[in-house]
Symmetry: C2
């Protein structure tokens, strides 16, 4: 057999295992009975072992060596070879014993973090976190890097991402967004949202609203599902079977809808993948930053626009006629756009969100380089919140212990959230040039022109290009914070007349 087709055969096998594992994971989060947890762990461990065997098979290495010598490969073939090489290197460079020790440590660490957060006591998590940082350093050394150890960790979540690419993006944000936030805070004006907080919002109405909005955006429910889970996510085995979840609170009706729009963004991306590249790495959705751009696009850029609020107001009124009495589109828009520095990242507004990420990014760099000791971390965290957001955490649970990521060993992950925000603004800004009627379309609930644009420029391009190349191809410029900063400045000006 031709080496390329032999490689594709192995990759298809690996993809099948990923599909099955994805269903096992979805089921576990959404509806598995509680006593099934232990054996579900065994099933997932079994399929992970089987998949690891294929991923590290010496035959893959031989085929890649052979294919990398070939000069006759087209774009897609080259992308498959490049992506298979990245995956093979990542899988083979970490010694089996290291991977198994790391997995054990992460399980332990997740438990001590949960305990520490519950008891509001950083010292419970301290030792495990210190060890996680050691593990992360070792991992970076196994994976290899050019400039900084931290680069190797960033590269895990977005191929090709480095500190030298990220620093300018965050600097642009810091210089432009921090003053905006300060000026809003100084104005001290707060819209009246008593109609939100003083009402109760029944779940069935929220469910129907989520469903209707997701359908309108273009999520295909014949090829996917909506469910509820404690931690909302978008999963599912393949583009014909995309499953997203949300959660409901009777005191906050925005959480479920904007969560649904976020996951709908991830979901439409998965459903829009190039189907002629099924089972191939080049046919997969691109890195985490691009994925997050699609979720943030619908959640924020579209979902929190005045035009969207104008379109969705009648839907709100249909589901909650009493609560919404007298509420106008502009009231809804102000309520979903409250800019207010707060301690908790996942509750942050669009303006402050990236400052939360920037703080984590700066801290991770310092921890990995050794310029910050774990014992000094809580104070450093609180100081940075005070410096950049003007508020200081009063306890570690709403401070340094708030995020699950470090307890899972995910160091280098946070920046992809901000990349998503920047990419989403940059993509929408480019799309607007092709769609002069964009605002009117959103006001009329016609989301298909924008979705079609994303399908063509982003979804159908799979992982053929590297993330930064994809952004440049789609928008005409390399990744930059400009579009996002401009978008935010405009919005704050409109909201607060600044």
């Amino acid at each position: 057999m031709d080496a390329y087709n032999e490689l594709l055969g192995i990759l298809k096998d690996i993809d099948m295992m990923d599909q099955v594992r994805s269903l096992l994971g979805w089921d576990q989060e959404v509806l598995m009975p509680p006593k099934a947890a232990e054996l579900r762990g065994e099933q997932i461990a079994w399929i992970s072992r089987e998949s690891h065997k294929r991923k590290t098979s010496p035959r893959v290495g031989e085929l890649l060596d052979e294919l990398e010598e070939r000069v006759d490969l087209g774009d897609i073939e080259s992308a498959n070879v490049r992506l298979a090489r990245e995956a093979y290197d990542k899988a083979t460079r970490l010694p089996t014993e290291f991977v198994s020790e790391l997995a054990k440590h992460n399980s332990k660490s997740l438990i001590s973090w949960t305990e520490a957060r519950k008891n509001n006591d950083f010292s419970i998590f301290r030792d495990d976190l210190a060890k996680s940082i050691d593990f992360a350093r070792k991992k970076a050394d196994y994976l290899g890097y050019e400039d900084l150890r931290y680069d190797a960790l960033l590269d895990i979540y977005e191929s090709g991402l480095t500190v030298s690419r990220l620093d300018p993006l965050f600097e642009g944000l810091r210089n432009k967004v921090a003053p905006l936030i300060r000026s809003v805070a100084e104005r001290g004006e707060r819209p009246d949202i008593s109609w939100v907080t003083e009402n109760s919002w029944e779940q069935p109405g929220q469910e129907r609203l989520s469903q209707k909005v997701s359908e309108s955006i273009g999520f295909d429910f014949e090829a996917g599902r909506r469910d509820a889970s404690t931690h909302p996510f978008c999963g599912g085995p393949n583009p014909d079977d995309v499953r997203w979840t949300t959660r409901y609170s009777e005191t906050d009706p925005f959480g479920s809808l904007y969560g649904s729009m976020h996951e709908t963004g991830h979901g439409t991306y998965e459903q829009g993948r190039p189907r002629d590249l099924d089972f191939q790495p080049a046919g997969k959705a691109n890195g985490l930053g691009i994925h997050e751009s699609q979720s943030r696009l619908w959640e924020n850029q579209i979902g929190r626009s005045l035009e969207f609020c104008q379109w969705s107001l009648p839907l709100w009124k249909e589901q909650f006629p009493e609560n919404m009495q007298g509420v106008e589109a502009e009231d809804l828009w102000r309520a979903v756009n409250l800019v207010e520095p707060s301690l908790i990242r996942v509750e942050a507004d669009e303006a402050t969100y990236n400052i939360h990420i920037m703080i984590r990014y700066e801290i991770e760099k310092l921890l990995i380089s050794g310029d910050l000791e774990v014992d000094d971390l809580p104070d450093k965290w609180d100081d940075m919140y005070e410096e950049y957001l003007g508020i200081r955490p009063t306890d570690s649970s709403s401070g340094v212990l708030q995020d699950i990521h470090w307890s899972m060993g995910a160091i280098g992950y946070f920046p992809t959230y901000t990349l998503g925000n920047l990419y989403s603004a940059q993509l929408l800004s480019a799309a607007r040039e092709d769609l002069p009627e964009h605002d009117a379309q959103i006001r009329g609930g016609d989301f298909s022109p924008l979705l079609d644009w994303m399908r063509k420029k982003v979804h159908k391009r799979g992982s053929i290009l590297k993330p930064a190349e994809l952004i440049e191809e789609a928008t005409g410029s390399p990744p930059s914070p400009e579009a996002f900063v401009e978008y935010l400045a405009n919005k704050v000006r409109l909201l607060y007349s600044i």
Copy 2:
């Protein structure tokens, strides 16, 4: 490594794959989005291939050869070796090409049967059925048999089952049950069930009733689920994760409850398996006949008893206060026990059900031996219905085309349904000797003494014994139709004063 432990390692791997496949199948039936069907087929085919590779690995054959020489194996070890041998022989005796051709034919055949049934035209299915019979004969020849080809097919679904064991069971039934049915029919008395048919039964009430009854019987919902599906079944990956389904009709409230009790019987059996034998063949539930005995026990022997109706009447009244006004326990009991010859097996009462099976069993024997040609099958079918049940199908959809089994190549499967009925009566009759307060317990909703008896005598025994041996160990006698015939005669006497 010791050969026995090496074998157990391979068997655990195979079991893991069965667990995963079972979840894939459950999801497919219960909630998978429609467009996902094709790739779900690929996932299932992939895991089936992986599993087949292990099941037919020459190493398994070598280990079995070695272990079969050993004289130091205990009961459980011997059972594992015996069961692994049966599975190995069944997997290796069928040539790969034959298996693949058969799978292709079965897919085709399922389509032509569906078409034939919809159009009420046997000729559409005729050629595929003839081919299925050829395939079944070849399969029997590959698998091997002592007396009759049909024995090899029976053995697939219940190990050790043969015509020489089944004929006397069916003869006992035919001689004793057919006259009972005739005498009921001659009496021409029909209880008044207008309170059932003239009311509408809302689904939420049926759901709560199903849930409450299943919980009361002892199904553990922390280790399992109840859902809805078009074809009710009991599945799920393992004893900690047992998932059963039912279906609801607003015109027939009994279908969902008695379906739920049936699946609860299967489900409690799975939950009661011996957990120290996890992943081992000896720890699995025994053959299909024993499995069916547990479902029929709760559905019929318990569920259709007067005592159960006395206990459940207040639950019915709680969910359906208006519909149940003036209905007494005896009315409920008569309604769920209507004895009436009908054309459709799945709707048949306890008395006529086994006659439906007997007709299929006799026909299968004739088809496999070649004593009945496929062209003569529809007339033969109708003649037998007229002879044994006194009614003649007016079209093939409610006659020879009603069951899906032959279209799937499942020839030799039907008798396990009747075995289940016979075993359930024989087991309950033995349990009654140990449980003198049985009737009062059922009347009081105390199902745990009976469930505990089944746990100890049946569930915890896994597949350590062969099915017929298990029945003999649990009841003191080999399988026989006596208990069932006596049970039925008693019931008909009480119901119709015959």
